[in-house]
Symmetry: C2
Subunit: 325 residues, 2 copies
Amino acid sequence: MESTANILKTIEQRIAALPLQREPQGLYEPIVYSMGNGGKRIRPLLTVLACQVFDADKVADAYTPAIAWEMFHNFTLLHDDVMDRAPIRRGKPTVPAKYGDNTAILSGDTMLVEAFSILHQTKSANFSKIAELFTRTAQEVCEGQMYDMEFEERADITENEYIEMIRLKTSVLIGACLKTGALMGGATDADAQMLYDFGINLGLAFQLRDDLLDTFGNPETFGKRIGGDIVCSKKTYLLINALNAASAQDRATMNDWLGRTEFDEEAKIEAIRGMYVKYGIDKMSQKKIEEYDNKATQILDKLSARGLEVSPLRELSQKLLNRDK
Amino acid sequence: MESTANILKTIEQRIAALPLQREPQGLYEPIVYSMGNGGKRIRPLLTVLACQVFDADKVADAYTPAIAWEMFHNFTLLHDDVMDRAPIRRGKPTVPAKYGDNTAILSGDTMLVEAFSILHQTKSANFSKIAELFTRTAQEVCEGQMYDMEFEERADITENEYIEMIRLKTSVLIGACLKTGALMGGATDADAQMLYDFGINLGLAFQLRDDLLDTFGNPETFGKRIGGDIVCSKKTYLLINALNAASAQDRATMNDWLGRTEFDEEAKIEAIRGMYVKYGIDKMSQKKIEEYDNKATQILDKLSARGLEVSPLRELSQKLLNRDK
């Protein structure tokens, strides 16, 4: 069994070996920049680890679709950064900020094509299942991004709608990376689906925790500034539930803060965070995270009880969910 | 053998039957709008006609990759319209003008995924060859668009660079549609390559003719306004060669016109067109078109001499090249 550290090393080597030194440089240089931008490679890692659960001998072939998923993931970041007009990602200028919107659109398109090009090189008896999973998941990620944009314009989003949006935008990709690995390892459809469900629950817990830490995290370890979501009135799980739970008067107070274009940032953070605490939204969120975390853990327990070695997946998910930043 | 009219009818039915009535409507409605926007369906038609040259019995299966190519083509139009800030296409508002840039980016991404989703349903012993052709061609089209954007900022483009740009941006797609059809019809690699080369030459002749008609076409039949390329200083085959051929004084006169932000449009058209005539650029262009047209025709002649029925392809290419609009 390969260690997680060794797998990550191989993933970096595969990415560095991609044939991206091509002309026109103006198109491919932003792709190299994006792929080398220091991501944690969680998605390809999940693919390889999931393969290893079922057949450690097939791991060598699992890197191909794993890299296809990483290319796809970075494509979504590129186009999201255009749509969100984001200036910074992982401490560096985003592709649209550095190279312009048109280049970011076109280099992103090329990355999506490249993701399929890599995917098509996958050697597996399950290739057609993996290809179908890839296209369906890619469509769902686009659907999630569309809901996210639509929600910005709406004031009446329910908790269920929000969960469905983050499921599509974030979790299906985690689930699909794991399922791809399982299928590469020759898992049965039922087992591959278990890995998918594990990924959905892990992804939901991860995203909700990200929302929670943005407001209630430890400023010294979070990395980003605390309260950023509140400052830009982002419709998170916390905000949606607070608006739904609040009294008419408190809701009016919150909407007043959310509607202001000029305000004292610390005062806004203080006011909205106070509402979250008043209505127990932080605890509600924590409970929901544990719910998804438990579901994910139970799936691993079932696989473990059958003698499958899931400890690397368990360690990675614990690392993802317990990080205090 | 199916008539071209019947094939076009089936293509429209297949497009209308695509499963695009999905949620969120905000994502899929622009795709339906784009796919129903009255294009001439030349690319899928070429795929089906090319298949028919080699095996009329395989035509039923050729519609699948044919529709994948049409979806891909419409994806490129969507993103091109964002990058070019184009307000109108085929007499109707473009997707970005009607639905906004962000929706156009995201619906376009979904179309590219959908193109691969359709492609993956192709039933053919040559599937892996077709998939490789699809991804390579898609990359080349992106490369062509990048060169086109880069050329806008450059003053020293050679004729060869321009031809290579339009080959990538326009012709490889025509060639790939034809080659896909040939491979669906069970053609040998050599014959499939002949169809590809036919498409490259047809595409180059077509694009150069488009440039020529924009300046020298008959205003009553051209459909668009004559001189549009000159008004917006578009770097066409005509302009590039005129700048390269002109005396220092005439080049200065032309560059003066090209650099003005306020000018009388008819006067600019008159001045630049006058230079084209003075340096014989219109005749030079006409000669180049005939050169590519002859190469395309010779390929069809060779296939015809072997008893293959290429008359529908001959008629379509003549229609494309002799149109006086």
